[in-house]
Symmetry: D2
């Protein structure tokens, strides 16, 4: 009986063409995080039932830039780095579900197709963007990771700049921020192929890192700007009050999640 | 009760950020098609049960380049053309399902994120690629659409060239080829978020153009080359015998499809 | 005696690696032109002695988008179209030199390296950008070239949008505008490799099309916006008064120019 | 008297639009170097009189990948990193001039326009390419800089892969290779705007780093492959015998060079 293989499309006889391999997926990267408070109503409007606002600090937002190298178990992508390297920028809020606090990515842009595919699986609402962040370096004019160091970060999509930040590090920090610190509560949605029939896939899932290692977190402050664009709503998460900014180098493993519920979205 | 809107992710209060708008979707474009025969076993291995080989000419393959401008009902994308223009290259085979012949796209590369999102909805197994095809033009050195005109077409992904063709037009033709002429039978697959639990979405769907207009088709011949790459299997559809090549300018509307069956894939 | 060959760098034993081949260069393309008046002082400040303002309508500016396919004598680039196709957006003003009126490109962005190299030769001050313009098409939602047709055009560089226009065609026109209608008076400048020693190359040259064919020009009107960016000065050519917009399909040959004078620039 | 400003084009009243600022230019980056021997005749054919083959090891070639962040004196590019970050891959040989040994870059690909402009000034024969190299990272699957670490590097242009390498580090090393260790002897060439009149700019210049700092160099071995392409000649520098591979993090300042001679090239 004929079958096809591969963790993702295109599925083939060998599975070799799959856009993404079977998890676990391994990541090395640098995270630049800017946390601020927006109007909690702007967070609430992004949370479909049964999700609600987090009880504490419900208007907190983290806008995070990440510069990644990633691979599956074999690690072969690292040796053909066009297949391993990507950058992303994403906005995270917190929400509550059945009395527990979750993080939730509400907007995200990446610059590679394998990252889009992973996002479909993990419930990250990925688009393509152009993302840049200053890299630390031990020599020359680029910053070291130290007090006073300054890192820039920018995001554009469809030839428009959507966000830019300049972060100045001040001191080592216990935490790397609190908004993106919970398990993620994400939806996986796909419309029915038949017009008017609603969603064919409608899942609320939970996931998080299977393992994690990291260097010291650094805390600092940020100048952050968000810009309007006709097909983006990031700037609706308007900046009311800065919280702090963070820099941290991390190693992460992701290996799946848990289905929380299915077929119940308050999504149109 | 809180809800969110938008045909696709990210779903928001307004729906404006959705990566793709609600169908119908309208397309203007040029199709360059190269048809050839491969070993039918190489086609069969891409067809999971309950699909089988087409009865007639089961090894026929169409490799198609398309240069598109697309939009939803408002047409606003056409006036911000970075949001309307994209190119794609895709391989189509035929298959049989319940006694009927379908076309099926087995590999496809596009160069924009909205095209990837549409493909997820329509069951096209899209990756990002770099796609180029000669454009006809009424003045200067570019070809007119006429006998003797020559058009080049190339496909690359992950910094490797995967395919290239040079097509010479010979004469107007009744058809634009036969491999991509049936309704499409596609799978929509997404793995479960929980490791080892198989597929969360597993649909066999049918779709095709809701309306179609076109100029005259031109028939000619092609020099076609396929190249190996570590993460691609297009070259397994090796060229045994050329059939013909075609060029046609078309206008197409797509407006959904039909669910054929669900949860029955012979896919691992 | 050892020599190297090639019209441009890198020069080699065969000349095959040259970034651009020997002229003549042949072009097929579509021109979308938006003409408007700015403060003549903003034009004058871009014209080093011995150039001066044009006598008539000295504040006229043309912002032009072009969608090209180009090749040298063999035409082989057209069959590997990644080497033939490029887009550009450029700002043209007029100037006077020894009593004659010239056109002069003061800013230009292109999206391919061979176009940058040609610009170095021709005195176009090219940078890389992301350029898009709506393409006419005979089928589907894209516009035909006819009264009422609307074309969008955008320019971005360094992840910022710099300009955007929407042009509506009204009627066929005798002209395709007047700002870009003269021979070009361009400088070719390169600083000395030795600090503080001024210019190593300092030429004022004249060039224009060696031959030209075209379809009918269409005249219409434009909504044009220019945006500020930290490393660009296009928006200094602020829009005081619209003139008109134009659309035309052309075929052009370029085959060198004439040295007007050398070593005399009022450039620092 | 009207003048214009700016180190490079476009020259304006303020100089702010110049594609590159006045040197000195500051760089932080990682260099991955693969040295090997080719047929000395293939090196000689790239050296126009008065340059000759180096006396010792005349067939030695260095193929170098570099991952840079760069800026001028203000450092502002580092905070808008799309303007600071670029990657390059380049082939270096050695040559002799008036009894002294020089390094000479014979092919180079970069991925930003400001890097192309600098190359024009410095005599590097730059084209655009797509360049990737594995980055060291202290956490997760990416390599540390240590014995046994493996780094991949790839180069593509015009949608074709031109070179790829996998380097395995073995031990710290006194040197970072010898081929790129001399002052650079480069030509700056531009053809006359008038057909048949030869070169308008024809300079042999010398330049090198104004200052340099670096971490320890690591030595290892490489698997290197070069691929043919219709417009490239890198693969003519065929690999006869591997020498070694190196990895080093560096900080560099460049601040101009010296004119050696002018108007004497044996270049056609």
């Amino acid at each position: 009986m004929a079958s096809v293989r591969g963790y993702f499309h295109p599925k083939t006889a060998t599975g070799n063409a799959s856009l993404i391999p079977t998890p676990p997926w391994h990541y090395s990267g640098d995270l630049l995080t800017v946390e601020y408070r927006t109007d909690p109503a702007r967070v609430r409007e992004l949370l479909p039932e049964p999700l609600g606002l987090a009880e504490e600090d419900p208007g907190a937002v983290a806008l995070i830039w990440a510069d990644w190298q990633s691979c599956a178990a074999s690690g072969e992508e690292l040796l053909d780095p066009v297949r391993a390297q990507y950058k992303e920028a994403f906005a995270v809020v917190r929400c509550s579900y059945k009395g527990r606090t979750y993080s939730r990515c509400v907007y995200i842009w990446v610059d590679k197709d394998f990252a889009i595919a992973r996002g479909l699986h993990q419930g990250y609402p990925k688009k393509l963007g152009s993302i840049h962040q200053t890299r630390p370096h031990p020599y020359g004019p680029a910053p070291r990771i130290e007090a006073g160091a300054r890192f820039g970060a920018t995001l554009a999509a469809a030839d428009r700049r959507l966000a830019q930040a300049v972060v100045t590090l001040r001191e080592e920090s216990e935490s790397n921020g609190f908004v993106n610190g919970h398990p993620m509560a994400h939806h996986r949605w796909l419309p029915s192929i038949e017009p008017g029939k609603g969603l064919a896939l409608d899942e609320l899932i939970e996931s998080g890192a299977a393992s994690f290692e990291a260097g010291p977190a650094w805390r600092g402050d940020a100048e952050l700007e968000l810009f309007e664009a006709p097909t983006e709503e990031l700037a609706r998460l308007e900046i009311r009050e800065p919280i702090a900014a963070y820099y941290r180098q991390v190693g992460v493993v992701w290996n799946g999640g848990t289905l929380l519920e299915s077929g119940t979205s308050a999504a149109e």
